[in-house]
């Protein structure tokens, strides 16, 4: 086989390989969605983040508007500080309410933003003031058992 034919075949091979990589990056992966949007940073402090993870979704009215960029513990207040990258297209009022929700019964946890009525918008680097922590199932069961025990004891005393 002469050199030109070899070059042609190898060229076809490399081209197919690159197309496969592009297919993986754009169609299978999220490269197109991730890099297209400019983002700004918002912070929120939670008493308990439950099972929230970095790269978890931030949703407003069920629409994904950003991702969790970083989670760390504030050493002074012992509260969890969650940094969120929010898509530049979306602005949120200053009194927006951030809650940690679970998608489905056993699904991943995400941050839900409930929109407030303030006319001033949150800017880059600002902190969402009003938050609600994740519901921890064990605590919920503990509270239920506690109140149940209190109810059972009350009639016995009379």
């Amino acid at each position: 086989m002469n050199r030109a034919t070899l070059d042609l075949w190898v060229g076809i091979f490399v081209a197919i390989g690159v197309v496969a990589l592009l297919f993986l990056a754009l169609k299978v992966g999220n490269l197109a969605a991730a890099s297209s949007a400019e983002t700004y940073l918002l912070r929120a402090k939670f008493d308990n983040i439950g099972g929230l993870k970095v790269r978890g979704a931030v949703k407003a009215a069920g629409v994904v508007v950003g991702r969790v960029a970083d989670i760390h513990l504030d050493p002074e207040s012992y509260r969890a500080v969650v940094s969120m990258k929010i898509d530049n297209r979306y602005q949120f009022p200053r009194d927006t309410f951030a809650t940690i929700n679970t998608s489905g019964l056993l699904g991943e946890q995400y941050i839900g933003l409930d929109i407030g009525g303030d006319t001033t918008m949150l800017k880059d680097g600002e902190t969402v003031a009003k938050t609600q922590s994740a519901v921890v199932l064990e605590k919920l069961i503990g509270q239920f058992l506690f109140s149940k025990a209190a109810d059972d004891n009350a009639p016995a005393k009379k």
């Binding site: 297919f23 993986l24 992966g29």
Partner: protein
């Protein structure tokens, strides 16, 4: 007893000696690989033999692996009422693990064994010695182009395998079983991360390419110059590189997907 100990000691020292020679050989390939770049047509020729000729087996296997994943995945996910996540399952298992590993195993048996047999036969028929007589370095002329051709071909083949697999999963899941096309692609794109999953998969296949090519050229170069020796070396290439691929895969996975 003494006889037994002697055999054991001989086997151990032989293994260590081979390991040392293999490492020295690797450095030699890197040092002389300048000529593989300068005389690019040699490398392109080898890419044709190891890469282009492996296209068919890689693409067909990828398609079938993806189709099987589609069937099996649907069967399991259906029990939990989440058959819409089929795209995620197919894409993640292919991009992270099956694509690089199965493509590497196929590449080792399809191209690695051929490289070993070729170099081993060149040695047996004293072509390598003849080159040395003509002041042509056989490592630069014969070994380095084959090595780099394998390293270049492997990531492309693995990407092709994964892409064909996803397509196969799509065929079975969406076209045959009737999973919703929108959620198949949508959930896949939502959970497959470019940096975490796809780039890591490409890194894996690149490492496997180095491992396979290194073992293949080394076994060929080190083969006993007899018909028996070449056949033993070819077998060793397939066995050793398959084991090394799986071991390296474990190590790489432990580094890449820790706790995410």
């Amino acid at each position: 007893m003494r006889e037994y100990l002697l055999t054991l000691g001989h086997a151990v020292s032989d293994a260590v000696w081979r390991l040392g020679f293999a490492s020295r050989f690797f450095v030699m390939i890197i040092v002389y690989s300048g000529s593989a770049l300068r005389r690019l047509h040699l490398t392109i020729r080898e890419i044709y033999f190891s890469g282009v000729l492996s296209l068919l087996i890689i693409m067909v296997s990828g398609l079938f692996v993806g189709m099987v994943l589609g069937l099996q995945g649907y069967d399991t996910l259906e029990r939990y009422g989440s058959s819409e996540a089929l795209g995620v399952l197919v894409a993640l298992s292919l991009v992270r693990e099956l694509g690089p590993v199965v493509a590497a195993l196929l590449f080792a048996s399809r191209a690695g064994s051929a490289i070993t047999a070729e170099i081993g036969l060149m040695k047996a028929t004293e072509q390598l010695s003849a080159m040395e007589m003509m002041a042509v370095n056989p490592v630069a002329r014969v070994v380095a182009p084959r090595f780099w051709a394998g390293v270049v071909s492997m990531p492309l083949l693995a990407a092709l395998f994964s892409a064909m697999g996803v397509f196969g999963g799509y065929l079975v899941g969406v076209k045959l079983i009737g999973v919703d096309s929108g959620s198949f692609w949508g959930q896949m794109q939502a959970s497959v991360d470019f940096r975490e999953d796809i780039v890591n998969g490409v890194i894996k296949s690149f490492v496997f390419g180095i491992v396979i090519s290194w073992i293949a050229v080394f076994e060929g170069y080190d083969a006993e110059p007899t018909a028996e020796g070449v056949s033993a070396a070819t077998t060793r290439t397939v066995v050793t590189s398959s084991l090394m691929i799986l071991a390296a895969d474990f190590v790489l996975t432990a580094f890449m997907f820790r706790g995410t």
